[in-house]
């Protein structure tokens, strides 16, 4: 594909910016190890330690004012809202006054004070290293034990750690539909560690006495109350350059810095974020460079949404949201919703457009799973049973449904929506009246199947945890993705088989297909039946991954989610490919999952995060859909 000159220039500019960011980021990271940086950081830290020492006093004033104001409000019969406003007002006032009153303490300093901080810091550093090592050993040892009955044992490894022992540990069936973080229950520090902790006490005492020398208003009692926060202000567990800097900045330490120092320290602190931005710039530059190829391959809308997705990743990095965790979630969502979206494919291809009657297939899958649960089947046996029986039940229903759809050529979508609603309600009757007796399945207060069923203990997490492995902190649900891949492969091969080709021909141009001797009606029935069968399998895959199975009104929404996924992937109501399914599910779910996390991090107003996410996310998709160009348009 020819790359235009303007593109090259623009991309070049972006790459230059990326290089600048990269250099700044690397410089910042390296500067973290320089002595001069440490000196400045120490200055800031002294300030924040002093501020922390003052905090209990400020807090005390604030709390007193709060209580006084509360009592006053109650005594004077304030309404709840008035009371809330009044109390907040009074507390804020008191805090401000206290801070002003305590200001003198900051202007004084002493070499003894600075030295006390440095020595305490060294001791703490040693202690925390030892603590870390012991905890890691504990987690590793836990992983190698045989898991006791029904107690969750395994957990995902820490984000940075690549401890081989932990990775090889077995995962109990009972557990992790989602990876659990380090579970330190039962951890006991060794005697040596406890002694080491005790040894820190004199250093801490020394620091406290230095502080009280500087500012006599801070009595020993007050300082005793603030002892741990002061120690943490020097160095807390898991402290990094960023956390120390942020703490100091929050205390107002930038007021002691002069000249270019504030900017320089800022750059050092943001080093990681600069690298994230560099990555973003790289992606942008590549996007500009290969714009035409990408658009040709996936269509402008997909391209725009992909860029938006990358932007979300960059924002997530900037807002300290753990990226590996997010990727784990997105991979799982891809597998969970992928097969359901795949169910739309044969429907579109055979010419019945979007199969909004997907609940029919979903319910077959739910029914077979419930039967498996009724018989108390567990593990792989239950899964295979559910899938096989689900398929067997879905075939006749899908066939009948196909016959119906053949009568209404042209209005399939509208009618199938209503048929779907109707069928869901029909089965609501069934869930209530069918003779299921297993006490785990029936309601707690009467007869009938309950609304949600727990999958852990039978098929929960089976596919997800099969051959699950971790790389760079991402926990990959191998079995789930393999299953999705397999299903897509099957569809792909079917597309190329003789029947598949006939079906696609019948769907894209019925008149021509008929003239070529293809029985269009028959092909439509095949497409519908396939769609129903895949939906049945899809809900089983979804439920085992999610951990719960939802009956009653649960199936109704799934059709819309699957439709959104495949359409966003580039399919139209008359043309679709496997590629659309995967890309669409990935983008739709990826933007959803990342969007809400980024929105929560960026926006502090309660409720506004989700609303903004809806607006921006759907707005981008709308904008993307209005852009013509490339594949994926009818």
């Amino acid at each position: 594909m020819k790359i235009a000159k303007s593109q090259k220039i623009l991309a070049g500019l972006v790459f230059l910016i990326m290089l600048a960011l990269l250099v700044a980021g690397i410089m910042g990271l390296m500067a973290r190890h320089q002595a001069s940086t440490f000196a400045t950081l120490d200055e800031m830290r002294s300030y924040s330690v002093m501020a922390t020492a003052h905090q209990p006093l400020v807090d005390q004033y604030g709390k007193e004012a709060n209580e006084k104001a509360y009592e006053y409000a109650q005594a004077n019969g304030y309404s709840r809202n008035q009371r809330r406003d009044y109390v907040l007002e009074q507390e804020a006032l008191a805090r401000k006054e206290a801070l002003v009153a305590l200001r003198p303490g900051f202007s004084q300093d002493s070499p003894g004070y600075a030295q006390a901080i440095l020595t305490l810091d060294k001791e703490l550093e040693k202690y925390y290293l030892a603590l870390d090592a012991e905890e890691k050993a504990f987690l590793a040892a836990k992983g190698q034990e045989a898991p006791p009955v029904e107690v969750p044992v395994e957990e995902a490894p820490p984000a940075e750690g690549t401890d081989a022992a932990v990775m090889e540990a077995p995962i109990s069936e009972d557990d992790a539909m989602r990876p659990v973080i380090d579970d330190l229950t039962g951890f006991e520090p060794s005697a040596a560690l406890v002694a080491q902790k005790e040894a820190i006490t004199p250093y801490a005492d020394a620091l406290l006495s230095e502080i009280s020398l500087i500012h006599p208003a801070l009595t020993a009692d007050m300082l005793a109350g603030a002892r741990q926060p002061i120690i943490d202000a020097v160095r807390a567990k898991g402290d990094t350059f960023e956390t120390i800097y942020d703490r100091a900045l929050a205390a107002g330490a930038d007021s002691v810095l002069t000249g270019r120092d504030p900017l320089f320290m800022r750059m050092v602190r943001e080093a990681e974020n600069l690298l994230y931005l560099a990555f973003g710039a790289l992606a942008l530059g590549l996007a500009i460079l290969f714009y035409k190829t990408m658009v040709k391959r996936m269509g402008t809308p997909r391209f725009i949404i992909l860029l938006f997705f990358i932007l979300l990743i960059v924002l997530a990095g900037l807002y300290d949201i753990a990226i590996p965790g997010m990727i784990t979630n997105i991979l799982q969502r891809l597998g969970m919703y992928g097969v359901l979206a795949l169910a739309m494919l044969p429907g579109i291809q055979s010419g019945i457009s979007l199969n909004m009657g997907m609940p029919i297939g979903i319910i077959s899958g739910l029914l077979s799973t419930v039967i498996a649960l009724e018989m108390n089947l567990t593990g792989w046996g239950a899964l295979v049973f559910a899938i096989v029986v689900g398929i067997l039940m879905a075939v006749p229903v899908g066939y009948a449904y196909g016959l119906l759809l053949n009568r209404i050529k042209g209005s399939e979508m509208t009618v199938s929506t209503y048929v779907g609603f109707s069928y869901v309600s029909l089965f609501c009757i069934a869930w209530m009246l069918l003779p299921f007796r297993n006490p785990k399945l029936t309601w707690a207060l009467g007869s009938g199947l309950r609304l949600m069923h727990n999958m852990s203990g039978n098929i929960g997490g089976l596919l997800d945890n099969f051959l699950r492995f971790n790389v760079l902190g991402v926990s990959v649900p191998t079995g789930l993705l393999l299953f999705l891949g397999l299903s897509c492969l099957v569809m792909y091969l079917f597309e190329r088989s003789r029947k598949g080709v006939a079906m696609i021909a019948a769907g894209s141009n019925p008149a021509f297909a008929k003239a070529s001797g293809i029985n269009v009606d028959h092909m439509r029935i095949i497409g519908t039946t396939l769609s129903t069968v895949i939906a049945a399998v899809g809900i089983i895959v979804y439920s085992q991954s999610f951990g719960f199975m939802s009956l009653y009104m649960g199936p109704q929404q799934m059709g819309f989610i699957a439709a959104s996924a495949i359409l966003i992937g580039g399919a139209s109501v008359s043309k679709a490919k496997v590629f659309h399914v995967i890309l669409g599910t990935f983008l739709f779910q990826g933007v959803l999952a990342m969007g809400i996390q980024v929105a929560n991090a960026m926006i502090d107003v309660s409720g506004l995060s989700e609303v903004m996410r809806i607006l921006i996310s759907n707005g981008i998709i709308l904008y993307a859909l209005t852009q013509a160009g490339g594949k994926g348009r009818d």
Binding site: N66, E67, Y70, Y78, S79, R80, N81, Q82, R83, V151, P152, D175, M177, R178, P179, V180, I181, G238, I321, A322, G325, R333, M336, C428, M432, P439, K440, W443, A444, L445, G446, R450, L451, H453, N454, G457, Y542, F546, G547, F548, S550, Y552, M553, Q557, F560, I561, S564, L592, A593, I596, Q597, N600, S606, G607, S609, E610, V611, R613, I614, N618
Partner: protein, 381 residues
């Protein structure tokens, strides 16, 4: 033309066949409107139990699952109750959208002010529902908020996460609880963090909202590593997911479900097996739940109310309505009378208060129910 003729014939046929049959016995009827089981079984079971016990008095019906969209159907069903001259009381739990409109129509258009109208767990704002119903019962969200904060404090939690979304924060009572939580957590020294969850009626759907909870709880626990974190969510459909997520994290706590009841979410998240013989035996159920919690080392990390509140509202309202129809009360919705009825129906000393909104307005006919929380550890052998 021909169509009209046919319709005419049908009309004649129908009218001649459907002559109203006058009832024989001059007894009274009490009508109970509940939801179906698609969102939860409590309300329906209460109605079912009362109908089985008093088949000649009780008539029941259910409002549609999609009640927000099918308001006309709900109104129609309530009006159908009122068109029966024998119906002397209508109890509606939960009083979803359309309750106020229907109640008003019953009084003004159908001119049936002889019918006692009781609403429970209203979805409409207090001003509207109290002017339409004779009295209203609700879950005490104010004291419930205090309870949530205090429970978190008792358990030593440092942080309380409040999951909600914009649409829910338009409900006056949910906002009131949130405000109380803000105040109480500040006083108790707990950090309150608001986190937005996707709206189940939005593009994520219920499945997306539930997935969010399952993904977010581990993230939050990682962010507050080493600290104890309590969780609360305002939406019913997400309780199972939240309970399941909290169960797996040793430092996570769950003070109260959004609609406090032993049956809200727990049967699914804990996988409680209830034999037919135990249907309706709340204590046996709580024991089973406690045992399962103990297996996960969680009996000190979960709590709820010991009584299914919505169930109690129906049985209490039925008791009250029966007394009212038999002329035992002089005033509609008097506090003492309602409390006595609830006490009789539940066998508890129910803590009842009048709802007072954030600006200090007291609603004499809006009564809130409160119960002390369960300590699951006490039910473990």
């Amino acid at each position: 033309m021909k169509r009209a003729l046919v319709m005419l014939l049908a009309l004649i046929l129908t009218l001649s066949l459907a002559l109203p049959v006058l009832a024989e016995a001059p007894k009274y009827k009490i009508a109970i409107m509940t939801g179906t089981v698609s969102q939860g079984e409590e309300e329906y079971r209460a109605a079912e139990m009362l109908k089985a016990k008093y088949p000649d008095i009780v008539i029941t019906d259910t409002y549609p699952d999609r009640f927000a969209a099918e308001v006309e159907t709900t109104v129609g069903k309530l009006l159908a109750f009122a068109s029966d001259p024998e119906v002397k009381a209508i109890i509606m739990v939960q009083a979803v959208q359309g309750a106020a409109a229907a109640f008003t129509q019953i009084k003004t258009d159908l001119k049936r002010d002889d019918i006692l109208l009781i609403a429970g767990v209203p979805a409409e704002d207090p001003q509207t529902i109290t002017s339409a119903a004779d009295f209203v019962m609700g879950v005490d969200e104010i004291n419930g908020g205090v309870q949530i904060a205090q429970t978190a404090k008792d358990w030593g939690a440092d942080v309380l996460i409040h999951y909600s979304f914009a649409r829910h924060m338009g409900y006056e009572t949910i906002v009131a609880r949130h405000n109380i939580l803000k105040e109480e957590t500040a006083r108790l020294g707990i950090e309150l963090v608001d986190r937005d969850a996707p709206d189940p009626t939005g593009d994520a759907g219920m499945s997306g909202a539930q997935n969010f909870i399952l993904e977010d709880v581990p993230k939050v626990m990682k962010e507050y590593e080493g600290k104890k974190v309590a969780f609360f969510c305002t939406n019913c459909g997400m309780q199972e997911a939240l309970q399941a997520a909290v169960l797996k994290e040793a430092n996570a706590y769950y003070p109260l479900p959004c609609c406090p009841s032993p049956f809200h979410g727990f049967p699914a998240s804990l996988g409680v097996a209830v034999d037919e013989a135990d249907w309706g035996d709340i204590d046996a159920y709580i024991k089973k739940a406690a045992a399962i919690l103990k297996e996960h080392d969680a009996e000190q990390r979960f709590s709820t109310w010991p009584v299914p509140v919505n169930y109690s509202m129906i049985t209490g309202a039925f008791e009250y309505a029966t007394n009212w129809i038999n002329g035992k009360y002089t005033e509609k919705g008097a506090f003492a009378d309602v409390k006595a009825a609830l006490d009789t129906a539940t066998g508890y000393d129910v803590q009842l208060t009048n709802y007072e909104d954030g600006d200090g307005k007291v609603y004499p006919t809006y009564l809130m129910l409160y119960f002390d929380r369960v300590n699951f550890a006490e039910f473990v052998d």
